[in-house]
Amino acid sequence: MSDGPAAASLGERSDRAIAPFGRRLLTVAGMDELGAYRVLRVADPVGPRPDPGQFAMLAAAERWGGGEDERPYLARAFSIARWSEGEAHYLLEDVGPGTERLCELRAGEGLWALGPLGRGFAMPRERRRALLVGGGVGIAPLAILQDTLSRKDVPVRALLGFRDAVRAVGAALLDGARVTTDDGSIGAGGLVTDLLAAELDQDEHAVVYACGPAPMLEAVRALCATRGVPAQLALEAGMACGFGACYGCVVPRRGGGYLRVCVDGPVIDAAELDEVEAHAGAPA
């Protein structure tokens, strides 16, 4: 079952940040443009410091609904991209009625939030070099991960892929990232996994942290598997609840059965997966 062995194998992370019970009404501190993305800043006086890789379920307090096809209705899941005492940052991409509504929020407006939720990234053992591989809006959890690793003096290298130049502006969220774009308009061009392969040629002791579209995650998983490199993948899935109640967010696990991305993940050890399911990635 989804909540058995998986929980065990990620056990060393069970001392994770615990969410206050019940959604809480927060106030938007600001909304900044970042190329094709928006950075939503939320004042969160009560929420605990999240682990890198954890997420929150967000919904606008006013007029959540009545968008395209009379949606949204349920809250939406977003990685916590950055956290500083009492303020959480989220990176948003408008891909549908829920994100569209959230992108319209302005300072002072109300926001329902539940979290931090899920299991974040495990810190690398014996300070091995960390390669952060991100694609598109999936770079969000890598930002807070980079902040944390840098505080721990873990050597970090970020490799980010974007569809085009206007999205590549998002790379500013991380420090000193190597960037590539599908259309070659910026950086090396080609796939971020090419950059990863090159890095692993240099240092086969590195560990990999990845978040992005499903095809990218699958490529990262396959590459790391063949090279025997440990990899942690931050997955996504359609979610109704975010705290294990609905059993809707599953991905197939190696050896049969399913994992609930919201409670067994979103960060899953690549070794737990035969492959990354087609729906389990960030919006491409």
């Binding site: 206050p20 019940g22 109704a240 109640a245």
Partner: protein
């Protein structure tokens, strides 16, 4: 505003809908607060079957206007593991545990009920009869005669309160409720989800026509609709059933505020269950119970 339901004394009339709140996962996510602020007056387990089930392949969820279509497929550890692993933990919750079970034959259901009867941690048993009859493919609970037969076979196996979770996909739901009562049920609960489906989504802004023909979106092919979209249907069925049976009724379907809960109580329900709204706020049950209390006449 404590309530008596089938001999159980409950602190308030709000419980959870089966399969919409995993208390053990919630404990891991919210810590001790889950127990100290537990939102329901009783805890209903997700549906348990004799054999373990993995559930349906993803995607399992589809959002509709003010609603949710789910095709979860009743994943569960199976009776043995549930009783051995989960029940002892559930027994530490501050409220009584109601175990929801489903079988595809009277014999299977009898075995499930008997096993629950043997466990003191279980305060009541809820039968999910929205299970397709292996021969007809229709829900066992949709045919009054069949339902009464099943109850007559199962009823003797336990002295615990037996609640029948009716299916809404029937021509005459009150007749099914009367059959359950005649068969010896101590209470009925409704409504379960309405049969529904969705196709592969239209890209944001784009038009679907270009990619048709399209496949079903849900891994399970079809699913069940819940949430505010079915609220008015639930109210009609709960009112119709409450007017016919003498046994207590658990009303549910689209409850997201105390006013909706009040509606169900006013048409005759003894308890109200909150399902999909708990996904939007795990503390919804507590909020609804509080507001019900605050608005209590007198």
């Amino acid at each position: 505003m404590s309530v008596e339901f089938c001999g159980l004394k409950l602190a308030h009339p709000v419980i959870n809908g089966s399969g919409t709140f995993d208390a053990l996962a919630a404990r891991a996510a919210f810590g001790p607060a889950l127990d100290s602020e537990f939102p329901f007056a009783a805890y209903v387990s997700k549906t348990i079957t004799l054999e373990p089930r993995r559930g349906n392949p993803p995607p399992r969820l589809w959002e509709t206007p003010a609603g949710l279509v789910n095709s979860i497929g009743l994943p569960n550890k199976g009776l043995v593991c549930y009783l051995a692993e989960d029940l002892p933990e559930l027994a530490t919750l501050p409220v009584p545990v109601i175990t929801n079970v489903m079988g595809s034959t009277a014999a299977e259901i009898a075995a499930l009920v008997e096993a629950c009867d043997a466990r003191a941690e279980i305060s009541a048993v809820e039968l999910n009869v929205s299970c397709p009859n292996v021969k007809t493919g229709l829900d066992i609970g949709a045919d009054p005669r069949q339902l009464e037969e099943v109850l007559r076979a199962v009823r003797p196996r336990t002295g615990k309160p037996l609640i029948v979770k009716l299916t809404p996909n029937a021509a005459d739901v009150p007749a099914c409720a009367l059959a359950a009562e005649a068969g010896g049920a101590d209470g009925v609960s409704l409504i379960n989800t309405l049969r529904a489906m969705a196709l592969t989504p239209v890209p944001h802004g784009g038009s679907s026509a270009r990619q048709s023909p399209r496949r079903p979106w849900l891994g399970g092919g079809s699913g069940g609709l819940s949430g505010p979209a079915i609220r008015a249907v639930a109210l009609a069925q709960v009112a119709a059933v409450s007017a016919r049976v003498r046994i207590p009724v658990v009303g549910m379907g689209g409850v997201s505020s105390a006013a909706h809960a009040r509606d169900l109580l006013d048409v005759g329900a003894t308890l109200v269950a909150v399902g999909t709204e708990s996904f939007r706020d795990p503390a919804a049950g507590a909020r609804i119970a509080r507001d019900l209390l605050a608005a209590r006449p007198g």
